[in-house]
Symmetry: C2
Subunit: 479 residues, 2 copies
Amino acid sequence: MENEELPRAITVKKMENFSKWYDQAIAAAGLIDKRYNVKGMFVWLNYGLETMKIIKDTWDGLFKKSNIKEMYFPLIIPMKYAQQNSSWFEGFKSEAFWVKTMDENNASHILRPTGEPAMYPMFALWIRTYRDLPLRIYETVSSFRYETKMTRPIIRDREITFWYEIHTAHQTKEEADKEIEEAVRINNIIWNKLSIPVLKVEKPKWECFPGAVGAIEYYSIMPDGRVLENGSCNHLGQAYAKKFNIKFRDKDNKEKFVWQTCTGNGARYLVAVISVHGDDKGLVLPPEIAPVQAVITTINVKGEKNKVMKKAEEISEQLEKSGIRVYVDADEKTPGEKFFEWEIKGVPLRIEVGPKDIESKNYFVFRRDENIKISMSEKNIVPECIRLLTEIQKNLLKKAEKFYDEKITEAADRKQLKNIIEQKKIAKVPWCESEECWNKIKEFEEGIELFGADLKKHSGKCIACGKPSAKKGYVAKTY
Amino acid sequence: MENEELPRAITVKKMENFSKWYDQAIAAAGLIDKRYNVKGMFVWLNYGLETMKIIKDTWDGLFKKSNIKEMYFPLIIPMKYAQQNSSWFEGFKSEAFWVKTMDENNASHILRPTGEPAMYPMFALWIRTYRDLPLRIYETVSSFRYETKMTRPIIRDREITFWYEIHTAHQTKEEADKEIEEAVRINNIIWNKLSIPVLKVEKPKWECFPGAVGAIEYYSIMPDGRVLENGSCNHLGQAYAKKFNIKFRDKDNKEKFVWQTCTGNGARYLVAVISVHGDDKGLVLPPEIAPVQAVITTINVKGEKNKVMKKAEEISEQLEKSGIRVYVDADEKTPGEKFFEWEIKGVPLRIEVGPKDIESKNYFVFRRDENIKISMSEKNIVPECIRLLTEIQKNLLKKAEKFYDEKITEAADRKQLKNIIEQKKIAKVPWCESEECWNKIKEFEEGIELFGADLKKHSGKCIACGKPSAKKGYVAKTY
C-alpha cells in the first residue's frame, strides 16, 4: 500500500460512486495522505490542516465567547480510572490501544478513547462547593480507537484528530438542561459557517449512557443516502458523577452529586463539507472556512511576466486589505493546469490575470460554487469579490438545503419506506417512541436503522405497531 | 498524591529554594495541575494553556512567514519504522511507551518519542526530483518518553506537550546550512518575545546523531545556576536520508540523497519565562505573551457598585480598542485578595478602580515588573498603558540580560572553575575542542558538564590540556 501513488485527479462522478470520489477528492485536493503506515491513521497535509484549523478556530472563538475554558488533559489514562465506570470500560476495552513500558508484561494504561476517565477524577478534586460550579471546560485533542469496522480517512479513524469535548458540571438538572441548549445554539452557528443544514435528532434513553437524561445528535446526509453521526450533546444527568464521586456542598451545606453534560465533535465537520458541497471537479469550500478565499492565477507570457506579476500583487494586496484570504499562484504552469488544481481544492474565487486582462482593465473571476466566469472591471474587483464571497456562502447553504430536502422523504408505511431506502434516501416515519418498535424497524430492510427522533411533535400512527405516535423518527443506512 | 491540595501561595524565596518556588508558582498561578494520576503527566489549566497558546501562535506565525508548512502526523509509530534507524531505536526503546491492542501479546507500535520515524518514510514517498525540494514542514504535537530521571512539570515530562518540530530536506549541504541560519533567526525572534537572552552554543560532532554535520543548541540559565536545554537546530547531513532512503533526481537526472535539518522546542520556552522573570511574589509575564496584559480590579463599595463597574467597563473597552488584552475582575473579593492573585499570575499591569479614583479622575496603575504603583489621570490611561507595556517588555529583557551576565563567569583554570560552580554560576572556559578534554572536564567537579562551545573564536589555552584553544566552552550543572 505504502508505495501506491496518490490520485491526482477525480475520475468518477460524486453521485455515482461516492466512496471512490471521496478517496480521490481528499487526496487530489491535498487534504491528507493516507499512506501512513498504520492502518486507520493518516497524515494531515498542509492544505487539509489549514482548513481544519479554521474550523477549529471557529469553535475556539465560540467557546471562549460562551466562557467555556480551554484546558488540556494527558492522552494516557491509568487503568484504574478507565475501569472506574465499568460499563464505559466494557464498551471500550477491545477498542482501546493499551500502553505499557518495555519492562512491563501487562499494560497498565490505555490511550484515551474518550475524555471522561481523564477528566472526571480531576473534576472530583476541583469541585468542593456550589461556588466551584458551574464548571465548564473543553479540550481539543486526539482520541484513539482500535476500530474493527472498515476505516476511512477523517470519517472513521484509529487516531481521531481534532476532536473537541466540552464537559460541564452544574448544581441542578435545570442548569444542565440550559447547557444543552447553549451547546445546540453554538453548534447551529458552526453548521452555519459550514453552509450545512445538519439533521438534528433526539436519542431515546436506551441509546444513551445508563443513567443519562438524554442526548441530541447531529447527522450529516451523505451523497450515497447514508447518514453520518456528526456531533452530540449529552445530558449525562448524575450518572458519571456517581461513578467518579463528583460532589459539592450546596448553600445549605448539603452534599449533592453534580449534574453533567458533554458535547463533542471534530474533523467530521470537514467530512460534511467535503461530501455535501463537493462536485465532480472536487471540493467546494464555503468562503468562511476556506484557507484561500480567492486565488489569483497569472498567465505567464514571455516578456510580460513582470507586468503581470506586479498587477497580480497589486490586486492581491487590495483584497488582503479588505480581509480576504488571498494567494497568488505565479507558478510556471499553464493556466489550464492551475485552474484544474485550484478547482479540486475548492477555492471559492479565482481571478485570472494576464497581459490582455491588464490591457482591457477587465478581469475574469471564476465562481467555484456555480463554475461560471464573470467579467469585472478592475475598479470593481474588491467590492465585487466581497459581495461574491457572501453570496457563495449563502448559495451553498441554499443548495445544501435543497439536497437535504430532496433526500428526506416521509413514509407512512413499510412499502413507502422500502421505496425510499432503495432510492438512497432517508425516510421520516411516525414512531410510537417505544424501544420495541425502535428495534423492529431495523428489521424492515437490510442495513437500515431508526437513528433518532425529530424534535417536533406530530400526530400519526407508528409505522411498526400502528399505535398513535406523537413523534417521527429518521430511518436510513448509517456509516 | 492525588488528594493533596495545590499550593495557593508562595512561601519560599526564588533564589533560595528555586525548586520549591517553581512548584508553588506554577500551581498557585493556575498554570497546571500536577495531580493527574499518571506520573510525569499533568493537566494544563486554562491560564497555562492560554499563555502557552500565545507562545505557540508566535511560532506558528513565524514559521508561516518563512513558508514552512504545517502538517500533522499520527502519534503512533509502527515498530518497523521505529527500528529502521537502529541507533535511534537503541536510544529510545527503553524510554518508549509501547502500544498494543487487547489481543496482541507483543506491542507492534510505540508512541512517538520524536518525529523522525513518523515523518521520514513519508518524505521518501514525497521526494522524487529536485522539483520537490526544498521540503520544509513542521508539526506541533505531543511526544512521549518514559523518563527514568525525576520528572517535573513542563521541565521533564512523560507526555511532552506543545512540542514543535521543523523538518526540512534540501538538494545541497549549503542549502541545509542556510536553513540552520533561518532556524536561528526565527529562534532569536521568539526569545525576544519572551524577553530572554538565551544562551546559544555549538555542539561538537560526537554529541550529535552519527553522520550529522552539527547542531546549535539553546540553554536557559535557571536561578539555581543550572542550565536547561531549550531547543536545538540540527544539521542532520545525509545521515537520516541514508537510513530512510530519501533520494531525489537532480537536474542531470542523477540520484542523490537529500540533506536534512530539524529544529525543535516547545513548552520549555515557558519554563524559561517562569524561571527567569518570576520573583518572590510569583510569575512576571512579558507583555507580548501575557494572556491578560492589563487587569482592572474593582473596589466594591456598597451603593457604588454600578458606578464602579461602569467605569471599569469603560476603561476596559478603551484599552481593548487599542489592542490590549484586558480583563475586568469584578469579583466579590477584597482588593487585597485580587492583588495577590493577579500578582501571582504575573499580569504586567493592574489598574485599580474604586469610587475615590473615579471622583479624583486619577487611577493607580501597578507595574508587575518593578512592583510599583503609578498614579495617572484618566485621560492618560490608554497611551500610558501602551507605553508601559512596551517599557515592561524591554525592562524584563534588560533585567534578564543582567542576570545572564552575572551568572556567566570566565574561568582560566580549575580553581576558578570550582569557585564559579560553587557560587551556582556557569563557567566559560578555554577549550581545545577535543573530545578527550570534553570528557575530562566532566570529572573536574561533581555533576558538571561542558555542554557546548561559544560561537565566537578566541585564543587561549585549554583548561584541561593546556594546549592552544580557539574556542570557549560553557560548563555548568545541567537539568
